[in-house]
């Protein structure tokens, strides 16, 4: 029971991370195309400014929870995926620094450097996380000892790449929706136009990815064994349709929340389909790392559950407060006020 609870929590942490940092990553990918001048660059950056750091901590918490609750999985997952995780790490480092450094020097090449590293630092995590999760859904070649028999190219298989493209598009739409809500004027119009175009691409890729998933993984089969879980892909699909519907009706916050539903639904669909595995082996199912062969002791799981049940709601409460306090659109005028301090 404890193991299953932690498995669910593990999935929820990832889902929340993708939902929150998803818009930062997506907007980072789109910024070079949406922002046409210095002012717009700064507006786009500042729509994420008060949030991105807190959002990224959900990733660290998901990683930390893997370490604490399923150390056997954490050890194998992180060492098997060494190269992609190092790339993810460097990308996140560059992204984080770009937010802080970009404005600190008023020289063209300096800003371009940080704009580029912000773009790479946003695109690469979206892509890598998609590739990594698709590979996890399909299983990776790990043996009994947890040794990985492959390299980076093993992970860049068609299904893995499809997962990467899916994440990039999913986050891009999510980010464009955020901007459409948080900016005004031309920037908002451009964001809405981008959403309408990208939504078509996203829908095609999403359908293809879901179909591909039928052949490349056993997620659907696992889900069909517990039909109530089909609610999860249903939420994802409803979210995707809802996004477009609300955009057409110019109800942009509702569209953003619908996009949240797509992300959470997709993530939980994948995670539920994995159960009880956290990292399936493609060599032999008995080598898979699961919630029942890599978990921590009942004592540790109980203590951590106590901490999570108290602290996660507290975190959600104060982060919601921050989102509420900074809900107003970022404009040229508000930028000037911020700088005056």
């Amino acid at each position: 029971m404890l193991e299953t609870t932690w498995f669910v929590l593990w999935g929820v942490l990832w889902a929340v991370y993708f939902m929150l940092d998803g818009f930062d990553l997506g907007l980072g990918i789109l910024k070079p195309f949406l922002a046409r001048n210095e002012e717009e660059h700064r507006i786009v950056m500042n729509t994420m400014g008060p949030f991105w750091d807190g959002n990224e901590v959900w990733l660290l918490t998901a990683g930390g929870a893997t370490f604490a609750a399923f150390p056997g999985t954490y050890a194998v997952m992180f060492s098997a995926l060494y190269t992609p995780l190092m790339l993810l790490l460097f990308a996140l480092i560059l992204r984080g620094i770009s937010y802080e450094f970009r404005e600190k020097e008023d020289v063209g090449w300096w800003r371009k450097t940080w704009d580029t590293s912000h773009f790479v630092g946003s695109l690469l995590p979206a892509l890598l996380l998609g590739v990594a999760f698709a590979n996890i859904f399909a299983g990776i070649p790990i043996d009994r000892e947890g040794i990985f028999h492959g390299n980076l190219l093993t992970l860049l298989n068609p299904y893995g790449l499809a997962g990467g493209v899916f994440f990039v598009l999913l986050f891009s739409v999510h980010g464009a929706l955020w901007l459409a809500n948080k900016a005004e004027g031309a920037l908002r119009e451009r964001a809405q136009h981008t959403i309408r175009v990208l939504w078509i691409a996203l829908t095609i890729v999403a359908v293809a990815f879901l179909a591909f998933t039928w052949f490349a993984t056993s997620l659907w089969q696992n889900l069909l064994a517990r039909p109530f879980l089909l609610l999860l892909p249903a939420v994802a699909v409803a979210g995707l349709l809802g996004t477009r519907l609300f955009v057409a009706r110019r109800e942009l916050w509702k569209a953003w929340f619908a996009s949240c539903a797509t992300i959470v639904g997709s993530t939980l669909f994948g995670v539920a389909g994995l159960y009880p595995a956290l990292l399936p082996s493609s060599l032999d199912p008995s080598y898979s790392r699961t919630a029942f062969n890599t978990q921590s002791s009942p004592l540790t799981l109980s203590i951590m559950l106590g901490v999570a049940l108290v602290m996660v709601p507290v975190v959600i409460a104060y982060q919601s407060w921050v989102y509420y306090r900074f809900k107003d659109p970022v404009t040229v005028k508000s930028l000037a006020l911020e700088d005056l301090y």
Partner: protein, 447 residues
């Protein structure tokens, strides 16, 4: 090089680099919070501008501290997977708790503080920086508790081929953890104090914003003085506890070879590890080592020869880092005490001000030395007495680690250079000048 050496080197690079930025975060958050609190309570605009000025430096420093912290969490899994699988039950939970109770708070409220000057009431705004200070120091507590467990494992049993938690409270309340935490944050406060004192001194030498920098100087000097004295008295306890918890580290840092009673402390000595002796040994103070270690002039201190050669830490780095750290510790007391007695006449003490400017890097060095002693002195163990470092490494290819190590050196080198460049630039620039209302209006239009 093999995977173990490369992974150790990579961990050393990542940790040293990370800890160039962490101590300033721990200490400067408190100093900024104090300055902003003074402003909120008595309305002195100097303190508001000071809080903004130091806050800007804080944020530049904070950014790198945060992102390089991610590296450490990743590395336990990527490079030390056998360690992670073996200790995750105890160690992993401490890291996860750190993220949930501290890191979220820190990362969320620093942004609110930066973006909230106009959006929040002064009281709510100053609360944010206090939350950041609280959270970063809580974060240090959990991380150091995890490290203390590697230094002195307690509250666990070996079951199912791994270390399993049996007593959580024993892990988080053990004396070793408390001492390590206090000593580390003490060092961080000294560093932050010297940072603010030193930069203030630089501006005072140039008669720039004298009023504001005298106020900053006062606050930070008191802070640095108190914690310099505290660190010397308290640091003794960290050495003393090694007598019972890590005798090999104690012997290595004192370069003490032969087990004996009533051991002297040599003021001058130089270890010769190959021949298991000291090549230079002079000015002994009789029985002092026994007295310091066990409060008994006749106490027995175990020498390095008692440990098999493959269970001794590298002697020279342990010895040198310890001596240099302690030497710096005494220097910090001396220079802050001197400055305290001259505080009313500080503008007439250019030599002292110059010394204070040049002292800024010294606490940085002391902090790095402290970690060198803690980590090198623990070798060959990753968990003292339980797991050797060589048994902890991931089953991965050396080329992978070699490439990532090169990438770390390049990326960290560039980021470090950019960060210190910005710190210097904004430190020299000084606080934003007070604008006349008309000028302020123009600024809005041109921003």
């Amino acid at each position: 090089m093999d995977v173990v050496s490369l992974s150790r080197l990579q961990f050393a690079v990542a940790t040293y680099f990370h800890f160039l930025f962490v101590p300033l975060t721990l200490g400067l958050s408190i100093l900024v919070a104090i300055m902003e609190t003074i402003y909120v309570r008595n309305g002195d605009e100097d303190y508001k501008r000071a809080a903004k000025f130091w806050g800007k430096l804080f944020v530049i420093n904070f950014a790198i501290g945060i992102v390089t912290g991610i590296t450490l969490e990743f590395q336990f899994g990527t490079n030390w997977s056998r360690y992670s699988a073996f200790v995750g039950d105890v160690f992993g939970s401490l890291l996860a708790i750190e993220a949930t109770v501290a890191f979220f708070l820190e990362s969320t409220f620093i942004a609110v503080w930066v973006f909230g000057w106009k959006k929040l009431s002064p009281k709510a705004h100053v609360s944010c920086i206090w939350l950041v200070a609280l959270a970063s120091n809580m974060s240090a507590f959990w991380i150091l508790t995890a490290n203390a467990w590697m230094q002195h494992p307690v509250g666990y049993t070996i079951r199912n081929g791994r270390a399993e938690l049996t007593d959580f409270m024993a892990v988080v309340t053990q004396k070793f953890a408390i001492l390590e935490f206090i000593h580390t944050i003490g060092g961080a406060y000294i560093l932050a104090g010297f940072f603010v004192v030193g930069i203030s001194a630089w501006h005072l030498l140039r008669k720039n914003e004298v009023q504001l920098f005298q106020k900053s100087f006062r606050v930070a000097l008191a802070f640095a003085l108190v914690f310099s004295i505290f660190e010397i008295l308290q640091g003794h306890m960290n050495a003393e506890i090694l007598g019972t918890t890590q005798p090999a580290k104690l012997a290595a840092m004192e370069s003490h070879w032969e087990t004996g009673r009533g051991v002297a402390l040599n003021l001058i000595q130089w270890p010769d590890a190959a021949n298991e002796r000291n090549s230079i040994q002079a000015m002994p103070i009789p029985r002092l080592l026994s007295l310091l270690g066990f409060y008994d002039p006749n106490a027995e201190i175990r020498g390095l020869r008692e440990f098999p050669p493959d269970e001794r830490p590298p002697v020279l780095p342990s010895f040198l880092s310890f001596r240099a750290m302690v030497g710096l510790g005494f220097f910090f007391v001396a220079v802050t005490a001197w400055a305290w007695f001259r505080r009313e006449r500080i503008m007439n003490s250019p030599v002292l001000l110059k010394i204070l400017v040049w002292s800024i890097p010294l606490p940085y060095i002391a902090c790095q030395l402290g970690w060198t002693l803690a980590e090198v002195g623990r070798q060959p163990w990753i968990v003292y007495g339980v797991m050797k470092t060589t048994d902890a490494v991931s089953p991965i290819a050396a080329t992978q680690v070699g490439l990532s190590l090169i990438a770390f050196i390049l990326v960290y080198g560039l980021l470090g250079a950019a960060d210190f460049y910005l710190l210097f630039k904004y430190a020299r620039k000084g606080p934003v000048p007070i604008l006349a209302p008309a000028a302020a209006g123009r600024e809005v239009i041109h921003a």
